[in-house]
Homo-oligomer: 276 residues x 2
C-alpha cells in the first residue's frame, strides 16, 4: 500500500486509528479458551467488531512468540484472515527487529514474504545496513524507532549528541538518507507531544506511528496538534484500552465502543484540519 492509498483509507474511514493486537492469552475471556485457537478466535472477534473504525492493525510479535509454535500459528492465521476479509487494511508487524544485513534480509523475508505484512517496526541501533534490506521490497514499509513512549526513552534517545541534538533527532536525520516518505515511517511516542513538533520540523511529510494513547496516557488532541500534516501523517495506536475494555463475553462490543470513541475524536480532528 502506498502513501496516497493510505491517506485515502484514512479519509474514507474518517479515522487514523491503528489497533494493536497485543493479544495476551492470560487476559482473553475464559470462554474462548475452549476453542482450538483462543488467540486467533479473540483476534477474529476484535477484527470483525472494529475493522470499519481503524485503518491499521498491529500485531505485537512478543505476544505470539511467548506461546511458541502455537502463537506463530495464531499470528499467521490472524494475518491471513485480515488480508482476506479486509485487503485495504494496513498491516504492521510490531517486531522491533534489526540485525546485520544478511540477517535483516531474513527478517524481511519472514514479514513480507512468509507473511503478508505491509510494514515492520525496526530498531535503528545497528545503522543503515540493518535497515536497508527491509526497504528492498516495493510497496512495503519500514517503521523506524525514533522516540518511543516508555520511560527508558530518556536513557539514550533523549541524550544529547556532540552536535547538540538528542540521539532520536540524529536517527531521524541520518535515516532520511536511507529511504523517503514513501517507504519509511517513524515511531514517535505520544507521551511527549511537545517533541512531536520537533520531529515534524525534521520530517514534515513522513507518517508517524504514535503509540501511547490509552493505557500509556497520551492525549490525542495534542498528537494531532503537533503531528498532523497535509496527508494526516499519523497512525495513532491503541492496544490494551481496546482489547481489554471488557473481560467477559461482551469484549468485542466493548472493544468496538472504545474504538468508536477514538474514531469519533479522530473524525473531529480531521475535520478541524480540513482533511475531510
Amino acid at each position: 500500500m502506498n502513501k496516497t492509498e493510505l491517506f485515502s483509507q484514512i479519509r474514507m474511514k474518517r479515522s487514523f486509528l491503528c489497533i494493536g493486537l497485543d493479544t495476551d492469552i492470560l487476559k482473553i475471556p475464559g470462554f474462548l479458551k475452549d476453542t482450538g485457537d483462543p488467540v486467533f478466535a479473540f483476534n477474529k472477534e476484535i477484527v470483525d467488531a472494529t475493522h470499519d473504525l481503524c485503518v491499521a492493525y498491529k500485531p505485537n510479535l512478543a505476544f505470539y512468540e511467548s506461546q511458541g509454535v502455537a502463537g506463530w500459528v495464531s499470528l499467521e492465521k490472524t494475518v491471513r484472515y485480515i488480508r482476506e476479509k479486509h485487503p485495504a487494511i494496513f498491516l504492521i508487524a510490531d517486531a522491533k527487529r534489526g540485525d546485520i544485513g544478511n540477517t535483516s534480509s531474513l527478517y524481511a523475508r519472514a514479514f513480507f514474504e512468509q507473511m503478508d505484512f505491509d510494514a515492520v517496526t525496526v530498531a535503528p541501533y545497528m545503522g543503515e545496513d540493518s535497515v536497508k534490506p527491509f526497504l528492498a521490497y516495493p510497496g512495503r514499509w519500514v517503521i523506524l524507532l525514533s522516540l518511543t513512549s516508555n520511560k527508558g526513552a530518556s536513557d539514550f534517545q533523549m541524550e544529547p549528541m556532540a552536535s547538540g541534538e538528542p540521539l532520536f533527532e540524529k536517527v531521524l536525520k541520518t535515516s532520511l538518507r536511507w529511504g523517503d516518505a514513501g517507504h519509511m515511517m517513524y515511531v514517535a511516542g505520544a507521551t511527549k507531544a511537545q517533541e512531536l513538533a520537533r520531529i515534524r520540523r525534521i520530517i514534515p511529510s513522513h507518517f508517524l506511528l504514535v503509540p501511547g494513547i490509552g493505557a500509556q496516557g497520551g492525549s490525542l488532541r495534542e498528537v494531532a496538534q503537533y503531528g498532523m500534516n497535509a496527508e494526516c501523517g499519523l497512525l495513532v495506536n491503541a492496544s490494551r484500552s481496546i482489547l481489554y475494555a471488557s473481560g467477559d463475553d461482551g469484549f468485542a462490543e466493548a472493544a468496538r465502543n472504545e474504538a468508536l470513541n477514538l474514531q469519533v475524536d479522530m473524525e473531529e480532528l480531521l475535520l478541524e484540519a480540513e482533511l475531510l
Copy 2:
C-alpha cells in the same frame, strides 16, 4: 548457568567457541531436503559433530522466522535436542529484541519459559525498562548490544555524545546500573579489536559475545589480546564459516574441521593466558 560454571566449561573444553546456528534452508545440502524437517536435521548433524569443541550455540532467530511456523518448529526441536543431549551447553537466542516493559516481559517468557535458552541478545535503544524484564529470571542472561561488527555500527554506535564518549560507551556505562557481570554480557564486534581495549576498561569482568570471526573477518588473536580477562570473559562466535564449510554430504565433517581449527587456536590462547 552462572559465570563460574561457564568458565569451568571453557576450561574443560579448552574452547570459548560459540557456534551460530544461522541455518538457511537455501544453503543446506540438497539431500537433507527429503527429511521431514531439513533445518533441524542439519542442526542435529552440526551439533553431533561439534558439541565437544564449543561451549555455546547461538540460533539466529531470523533464519527460523523466515520459514514461518515450520521454522519455529525447527527452532524448538533444536533447542530441545541440545538441552537433552548436552545440558551443559550455553544456549543463546540471537534475537536482538527490546520493547516497552510489558512487551519485553513477553519476549522473556518466549525465550526463557516457552523455550529453555540461557541468554538472549537485546538491543539497548529503548533503555532500562526494555531490558529489565529479561533480568528478572535467575540464572538467565541478557547479552546487550554495545558495539556491533557491521558497517552500520558507525551510524550511531560510534557517534560521539555531548559527554565526548561514543554512544556504545554510554550504553555500557548506563547499563552497568541495570545488572551485574553475573547476569549481563555484551555484544562487542570483533572487526574493531582496538575498541575491545576501551570496552574492557569500562567492563573488566563481564563476558563479551564477539561476532565477526570467520565470514566477517575478525582476528581471533587480537580479540584475545584485547578482550580476554581472568575468567576468559569471551565467547567468540563463528557461524557461516562452520555451517557452510562444505555444501555436500560431508558438511558435518567439514564443519567439525573448521570448529576444531578454532578450538585449537583458542586452546593455545587460553594456555598463553595461563587459564588452563
